[in-house]
């Protein structure tokens, strides 16, 4: 059943026309106080004008180093942080126009990395899950029944777990409760922000299986954020690579992993441990830490760490350009004929 799931891209129902979730020009800059009286004008460009679509029923993976804006993007999508500019559309309704934040949050739910911090230590598991529906007007009895259903759905027997507090559960069990709580509104989209990263490997595999089952049973759409490229490859239909608040590359998982077009994507993939004792990594693909998003480099933000950097890279910002595979885009001057990069084709095709 779940084996065919990766192929089932055809969304059923009335939404087939457009993407389920559509983001355009999303931007968030955080001002930091600096200088005398805190009147400095320094900003962290956490997310800087990103656009992407998510089709119903697919899983979009988001990868990148710390500080690249993965988590800020997730928080912007559920309006935990309000964007400076940009547009979020869900099922062709626009946030702020014909959709309120309340509507959005019913349909887009989120699971965080820290399973303990995400739960109120003074609520039992059934109360934690029933809380949201009750706030939205569900009767207590009905909400408790729903909580029990959801607990058994995520593999926790309600009779044993409904009355427990967060500290009485293991990390894997708590994350199951967080998933159950996210499902309480029957959301269309679930954002998993490093949701399995803190778990032990054997438990992580169990939760990944659960997420795959839930997705096919409930027809969910996932946005799966992780720093683990193996897990992202396993879970995602498409992958978006972010670097310093921008999209470096986005494309179907197989195309992106086997033909990475952006030098940054290639470096990220090369930095994965080789898993072959006879072919260990001999040279680090990138040196140094990711630069600071406070003063990102000019032009292509990756040019300070890129082995292929040319003068054009520090002066002009590359646009995302289409590659041969469908829906595969990357932002690099080398891919644009006539861009002025020595490794690009000389002239733009007529």
């Amino acid at each position: 059943m779940s084996a065919a799931q990766g192929m089932s891209a055809a969304p059923g129902g009335s939404l087939a026309a457009g993407p389920l979730l559509s983001v355009h020009g999303l931007t968030k800059h955080f001002p930091i106080r600096s200088g005398l009286l805190g009147r400095g004008s320094v900003v962290v460009r956490a997310v800087d004008g990103i656009s992407f679509d998510v089709t119903e029923g697919e899983t979009l993976g988001i990868v990148g180093e710390s500080g690249c804006g993965k988590s800020t993007t997730a928080r912007l999508l559920v309006d935990l942080i309000t964007p400076d500019s940009g547009e979020i559309r869900l099922a062709n309704r626009r946030l702020g126009a014909d959709m309120t934040v309340r509507d959005l949050r019913r349909d887009v739910q989120m699971v965080f990395q820290d399973s303990y911090a995400s739960l109120n230590p003074r609520l039992t598991m059934e109360d934690a899950i029933a809380f949201g529906p009750m706030i939205n007007g569900m009767a207590e009895r009905q909400a408790t029944n729903l909580a029990h259903d959801l607990l058994s759905r995520v593999g926790l027997e309600p009779r044993r777990f409904a009355g427990r507090y967060p500290h009485e559960l293991s990390g894997g069990q708590r994350q199951r409760v967080n998933i159950a709580r996210a499902l309480a509104f029957s959301p269309k989209v679930v954002i998993l922000d490093e949701a399995v990263s803190a778990l032990d490997k054997s438990v992580e595999a169990q939760v990944l299986n659960l997420l795959s089952d839930l997705k096919s049973e409930l027809g969910l759409t996932y946005i799966f954020i992780s720093h683990d490229l193996n897990v992202v490859r396993y879970m995602s239909d498409r992958v978006m690579v972010m670097y310093l608040g921008e999209v470096a590359e986005i494309g179907p998982v197989d195309s992106l992993y086997s033909n990475p077009a952006h030098p940054y994507t290639r470096a990220l993939l090369a930095a994965m441990p080789s898993m072959d004792p006879d072919r260990r990594t001999e040279e680090a693909p990138l040196s140094g830490d990711p630069p600071n998003p406070i003063n990102p480099p000019s032009g292509c933000r990756f040019h300070t760490r890129c082995a292929h950097a040319a003068p054009v890279c520090s002066s002009a910002i590359p646009n995302l350009s289409r590659l041969r595979a469908e829906r595969h885009l990357a932002g690099c001057h080398m891919l644009v004929p006539g861009s002025g990069h020595p490794e690009a084709a000389a002239e733009a095709r007529p």
Binding site: A3, N209, S212, A271, G288
Partner: protein
């Protein structure tokens, strides 16, 4: 002094750098915890061993036992531990202080906790040299500078005067490595030093450790939960579960032919080359609580191929080749 040194050296030549035999660690109190339950380990100078396991398996406790930094009052250590010919369990006072940081050194996952926030990086490294080698502070600072250069921290002169919070994560990790290695220890213990880092920085630190280890000829025990990291850094792997080494062997053999069902489960969970959409062979359940000594195979309750005999007694370590041992009746 020098004769004592040379006798020590000659003993160290004939026996391995680290020799642990049937080591147990138990924490007392209202709820006793059997953290380490009879491990045997031998490590030669210049060799790297990874201890692979999940949280609560006893990996970190094993390292802390070797450095003798577990709380004395509540810890009962059994078995014998010899490092460079010295009985570590018998050390106390000045000799113990010389052991820590002089003979054996440790690096941690979170350098922010390992480094002192109110002293500069230079002061912290110099203090270690002054304490262990009795040199002047100026000499200590010179050694600190040399070491910061060695771990390739950019503009090391300036970084000597930096406080830990002024550095990035990767740079702090390099500073901690400099601090740990400045007195040229014979054994480096590494407790998940790259787990909190981005993959792009992790590989840099792994390559640096590999290079320093070769150059200094020290032994290294590297604790990790990531098989990929173990493959990059180590010659041998010990897979730890419930305080025991369930499988040990050369990294090549463990990767290509895992014999213990737990090792096989861990390899599958790494998702390297996992087929998208295919169901993962997840190990069910969770590791056992360690409040009692296991009387059977501790993995039996989660094991797909367990039989009745597995719960009847502790499986003995069965030998498969020169460095290969597996604690499984069905291997």
């Amino acid at each position: 002094m020098s004769t004592a040194m040379s006798t020590m050296m000659s003993t160290a030549m004939s026996e391995p750098l680290v020799d642990m035999r049937d080591v147990t660690v138990r924490f007392g109190g209202a709820r006793p915890v059997h953290a380490v339950n009879g491990i045997d380990l031998r490590l030669n100078a210049g060799e790297t061993l990874s201890i692979l396991g999940e949280s609560g398996s006893g990996k970190s406790v094993t390292l802390k036992t070797l450095l003798r930094i577990l709380p004395e009052q509540r810890t009962a250590i059994g078995g014998t531990i010899r490092i460079a010919g010295v009985d570590v369990t018998a050390l106390s006072g000045r000799a113990l202080a010389d052991h820590r940081g002089g003979v054996v050194s440790m690096i941690f996952q979170d350098p922010m906790l390992a480094l002192d926030p109110v002293y500069t990086i230079g002061e912290q490294i110099a203090e270690t040299v002054v304490r262990h080698e009795g040199v002047s502070r100026a000499e200590g600072m010179a050694r600190a500078l040399e070491m910061l250069t060695r771990v390739r921290i950019p503009s090391p002169e300036r970084r000597l005067k930096s406080y830990p919070h002024e550095m990035s994560g990767g740079m702090r990790q390099r500073a901690m490595i400099a601090l740990a290695l400045v007195c040229r220890p014979k054994l480096l213990l590494a407790d998940e030093p790259t787990t909190a880092l981005d993959a792009t920085v992790q590989i840099q630190i792994l390559l640096l450790l590999r290079e320093l280890q070769r150059e200094f000829g020290m032994g290294m025990i590297f604790v990790t939960h990531d098989i990929g990291v173990a493959v990059e850094i180590s010659d041998r792997v010990a897979v730890m579960y419930a305080g025991q080494f369930v499988e040990t062997g050369a990294v090549r053999d463990i990767i290509r032919d895992p014999k213990h069902p737990y090792t096989r489960g861990l390899l599958a969970a790494n998702l390297h080359g996992a087929h998208k959409g295919a169901r993962l062979d997840a190990i069910p359940g969770a590791p056992p609580a360690l409040d009692a000594l296991p009387d059977g195979c501790p993995f039996a309750p989660r094991c797909p191929i367990a039989e009745a005999q597995c719960s009847e007694g502790l499986p003995p370590a069965r030998v498969f080749g020169p460095q290969r041992q597996v604690r499984c009746l069905k291997a």
